[in-house]
C-alpha cells in the first residue's frame, strides 16, 4: 500500500470511528427526521380539532347568505341548520344576533385550528359587508366602486428607472432559499468543526514529536496532503450521511403536506443554484481545511491552537454573515466585491447563483478564483510544512520569519 493511502486511511478511519463524529452525525440525523415531521409534531402539541359541520342558528334570509358565502369560498365543512342542543361531535354551532354590526357566537367542544378560524372570520366579515351594502341601498356602480383598489405609482429618484432590480426580493423562491441556507449553514458548520480537528491533528503530531519519525518515512508534503484529503473525506462522509438521511426521510414520510404547506416548488433557477452550491460547498471545505492544516503546522504548543486558527474562524464567520444578511439585497456592491475575495467566495457565490441577474461567467469566474487560491495555499503549505515540522519555535510570526530565511 502506498504511503499516501496509509496516512489517508489511518486518519480517515480513526476520525470516522471517533465518538465526536458519531454523536454529531446522529444528532443531525435526528434533527433531519424531526424537521421532516414538523407538521405532525406541531399537530401533536395542538389541541385544536378541525370541525366538519357548522350548524347555523339564524333567520332564513341570513342563513341563505351565510351558506352561499361559505359555498363560494369552498369551505371544507358542511353548513347545516341548527338543530338545538349542544354542538355535535366534530361540529360547531354559529349563532347570529342581528345587531349592527352583527354579532356572531361560535361554540364548539374543542378549540378550532387557526386556518378554520380565519376562514370563518373572512366569510362572516363578507356577510357583514354585503349586509351593510344592502342596507345603504347603493346602485350597482356604487357597489362596484367600493371594491376597487386605488392606483398607486412609486416615483423614486434613486431607482434610476431600473425597475427589474427590485424584483429580486419578490421572486425569492422558498425552495431556492432553503437550498442556499442549507449550503451556507452546512459549510459553516463543517468548517468550524473540522478546521479545529485538522489543526489539532497536525499540531498533535508536531507537538508530540512523532512527526520526526513520520517524515523520515514519508515526504512531508505527501503526509500533509494525505491528512487534508482524509479530513475532507471525513467531512464529505458526514455530508453524504445527511443527504441520505434527507432522502430516507422523504421516502418514509409523506412530504406532500409539508411541501404544499410551505409552498416549496422548484423554478428554472433551482438546478443552477443546486449545482453551483454543491461545487462551492466542496471548494469552500477544501480551501478552509487546507488553510487550517497550514496554520496547525505552525504551532509548537497545543495551547496556541485556537489563536492560530483565529483567521479561519473570522473569515468563515464574516463570509457567512455577508451571505446570510444579504439574501434580500443580493446585488449590492458588498456582495459583488466579496464574492471575488477568495475566503468569502464559497459563501457569497451561492447567494449570487440564486439570482437570475448573475450570469454563468461570474459564477465560473468564482470557481476559477477558488481553484487558483486552493492551489496557491497547497503550494505554500507544501513549501513551508517541511521546514515547520522540525521547528520548535513558538508562535506563528517567528515561524514565518524562520521559513523566509531558510
Amino acid at each position: 500500500m502506498n504511503k499516501f493511502m496509509t496516512t489517508f486511511l489511518q486518519t480517515y478511519v480513526s476520525k470516522v470511528r471517533a465518538k465526536s463524529f458519531i454523536i454529531s452525525t446522529l444528532i443531525i440525523i435526528l434533527l433531519i427526521f424531526l424537521a421532516a415531521n414538523i407538521d405532525r409534531i406541531i399537530e401533536l402539541f395542538d389541541s385544536s380539532e378541525e370541525v366538519t359541520t357548522l350548524q347555523v342558528d339564524a333567520e332564513e334570509a341570513q342563513y341563505g347568505a351565510i351558506e352561499s358565502m361559505f359555498a363560494s369560498m369552498d369551505a371544507e365543512f358542511e353548513i347545516e341548520p341548527y338543530e338545538g342542543g349542544d354542538a355535535p361531535a366534530g361540529g360547531a354551532v354559529l349563532s347570529l344576533e342581528e345587531t349592527d354590526p352583527m354579532a356572531f357566537t361560535i361554540s364548539a367542544e374543542n378549540d378550532l385550528p387557526d386556518e378554520q378560524k380565519t376562514e370563518i372570520e373572512t366569510a362572516l366579515a363578507e356577510v357583514q359587508r354585503m349586509n351593510t351594502i344592502q342596507a345603504l341601498n347603493l346602485t350597482p356602480e356604487e357597489t362596484a366602486s367600493l371594491g376597487e383598489s386605488p392606483d398607486i405609482t412609486y416615483d423614486i429618484a434613486a431607482d434610476d428607472g431600473e425597475a427589474e432590480d427590485e424584483g429580486s426580493a419578490a421572486d425569492m423562491n422558498p425552495l431556492n432559499s432553503i437550498i442556499f441556507y442549507v449550503t451556507v449553514i452546512i459549510m459553516f458548520f463543517i468548517i468550524i468543526n473540522y478546521a479545529s480537528q485538522i489543526g489539532t491533528e497536525i499540531a498533535m503530531e508536531k507537538t508530540s514529536r512523532v512527526i520526526e519519525m513520520i517524515v523520515s518515512s514519508v515526504p512531508p508534503v505527501t503526509h500533509l496532503l494525505a491528512k487534508i484529503s482524509a479530513m475532507i473525506s471525513v467531512s464529505l462522509t458526514q455530508l453524504i450521511v445527511f443527504v441520505l438521511a434527507v432522502i430516507a426521510a422523504i421516502q418514509m414520510f409523506d412530504f406532500n403536506n409539508l411541501i404544499s404547506e410551505f409552498g416549496l416548488e422548484s423554478n428554472d433557477r433551482t438546478v443552477t443554484l443546486a449545482v453551483y452550491s454543491l461545487i462551492y460547498l466542496i471548494l469552500g471545505l477544501v480551501l478552509y481545511l487546507s488553510i487550517s492544516a497550514l496554520l496547525g503546522s505552525f504551532i509548537s504548543r497545543m495551547e496556541d491552537l485556537q489563536q492560530a486558527l483565529l483567521p479561519v474562524t473570522m473569515f468563515s464567520l464574516i463570509g457567512f454573515y455577508i451571505a446570510i444578511f444579504n439574501i434580500w439585497t443580493s446585488e449590492n456592491m458588498l456582495v459583488i466585491i466579496s464574492s471575488y475575495i477568495p475566503p468569502f467566495t464559497p459563501f457569497v457565490m451561492p447567494l449570487r447563483a440564486m439570482h437570475e441577474t448573475t450570469g454563468q461567467v461570474e459564477l465560473l469566474l468564482g470557481i476559477a478564483i477558488l481553484i487558483v487560491t486552493i492551489a496557491a495555499v497547497i503550494w505554500l503549505a507544501a513549501s513551508i510544512y517541511r521546514n515547520s515540522v522540525l521547528s520548535t519555535d513558538k508562535g506563528i510570526l517567528k515561524n514565518l520569519k524562520r521559513i523566509r530565511r531558510e
Partner: protein
C-alpha cells in the same frame, strides 16, 4: 556498500553546527557518534535522513544519495521522543510500520515478538499517554526497527532508561547488528562506545575530532598507558625518555608514554629493583585521545 559523508557542513545562519565532516560507515558495522551537548550529532543524523538540508557536502548510501525511495530500508529513533499520545501502542506501531511498507500481518507477529523481548507484552492495548517515559521509549525503539531495516540510526537510544533496561536495549541492538544491520548511534557516554562499537566518530563543537576503527585509532594514536604496582620507590621513572605523565596513588603508578617502544627500557629499569606485583601496558582510553586532540577533558 556503505554510508559515506563527504565534507558535510551545516550552518544555521552564522552558527556552524556541523563543520566539514568526512567519514565512512562500513556496512554491517556498529558505529558510535560521540560528543557533548551541541556537538552536532543530531544535526548530522537529520541531514543523513534528509530532514535537514546540508549547507555543503554530500551524503551517499551504497553510492546513491538518500531519498524517500530508500527510507523503507532505514530505521530512525529521533532524539526528541514522542508518539501520538491518544493512540494505542498497537495502532501507533501499525501506522508507523505501514509507512515503512510492512503488511498488517507481519506487523502483528513482529510486534508481539518485540514486546516480549522488551518485557512489556501487557502494553499492547494501552494508550501511549498511559505508559511511563521509559516504556514509551521502548515502544518507539520498536517502531524504528520493527521493519528490519539495513541501516538503523539511533539518536541517544540509552538515555533516560534505568540500568536494567539499558542492558536489555544494548543486547537487542547488538543482536540486530550481528544479524546484519548497520547501526549508527549517538551518545555522550564514552563507555557505551568503548563497549559496543568497532567504529566511531568523536565530534566537538561541530568538527570531527577523530573517526574510524577504534582499534586502529588507538594504535595510530601511539600513546600507551603503563600500570605498575609494587613496594619500591619508582618516582625516578618520570625522568625516563618518552614518559609524558605520571600519577601515583599509594602503591599503584600510572604512566603515560608517547610510544610503545619506551615500555621496554622502563620494564628493564624497574626489575633491577626486585619484585613487582604488576606491570601492564594498556591501549589508551578514548578519554586520553579526546584530551590530547581537543586540549581539554571530555565533558
Amino acid at each position: 556498500m556503505s554510508l559515506e559523508l563527504n565534507q558535510l557542513t551545516k550552518k544555521f545562519n552564522e552558527n556552524t553546527a556541523v563543520d566539514d565532516i568526512n567519514l565512512t560507515v562500513p556496512t554491517g558495522s556498529m558505529y558510535g557518534f560521540l560528543g557533548g551537548n551541541g556537538a552536532g550529532k543530531t544535526t548530522t543524523f537529520r541531514m543523513i535522513l534528509g530532514l535537514l538540508k546540508q549547507t555543503e557536502g554530500t551524503i551517499t548510501y551504497n553510492g546513491k544519495p538518500i531519498d524517500y525511495s530508500v527510507t523503507n530500508r532505514i530505521g530512525y529513533l529521533p532524539e526528541e521522543r514522542g508518539l501520538h499520545p491518544k493512540l494505542k501502542v498497537e495502532e501507533q506501531i501499525r501506522y508507523l510500520a505501514q509507512l515503512k511498507g510492512m503488511s498488517k500481518k507481519d506487523i502483528d507477529v513482529k510486534l508481539d515478538e518485540w514486546l516480549e523481548r522488551f518485557e512489556v507484552p501487557e502494553n499492547r492495548d494501552k494508550r501511549i499517554e498511559k505508559l511511563s517515559k521509559g516504556n514509551q521509549q521502548k515502544i518507539q525503539l520498536i517502531a524504528s526497527i520493527i521493519h528490519e531495516p539495513d541501516l538503523i540510526i539511533l539518536d541517544e537510544p540509552f538515555s533516560g532508561l534505568d540500568p536494567v533496561n539499558v542492558e536489555i536495549l544494548k543486547k537487542s541492538v547488538k543482536e540486530l547488528n550481528s544479524s546484519g544491520a548497520t547501526i549508527i548511534f549517538s551518545t555522550h557516554r564514552m563507555e557505551h562506545v568503548e563497549e559496543m562499537c568497532e567504529e566511531l566518530c568523536i565530534l566537538n563543537h561541530g568538527s570531527q575530532v577523530v573517526s574510524g576503527n577504534i582499534d586502529q585509532i588507538k594504535s595510530d594514536f601511539g600513546q600507551k598507558e603503563i600500570i605498575i604496582e609494587g613496594d619500591h620507590d619508582i618516582s625516578f621513572l618520570e625522568e625516563m625518555p618518552g614518559v609524558l605523565d605520571m600519577k601515583q596513588v599509594r602503591k599503584k603508578t600510572t604512566l603515560k608514554i608517547s610510544d610503545e617502544q619506551y615500555a621496554e627500557p622502563i620494564f628493564k629499569e624497574i626489575i633491577k629493583l626486585g619484585y613487582f606485583k604488576r606491570f601492564q601496558v594498556n591501549e589508551p582510553s578514548l578519554n586520553d585521545i579526546f584530551i590530547s586532540k581537543v586540549g581539554r577533558k571530555y565533558e
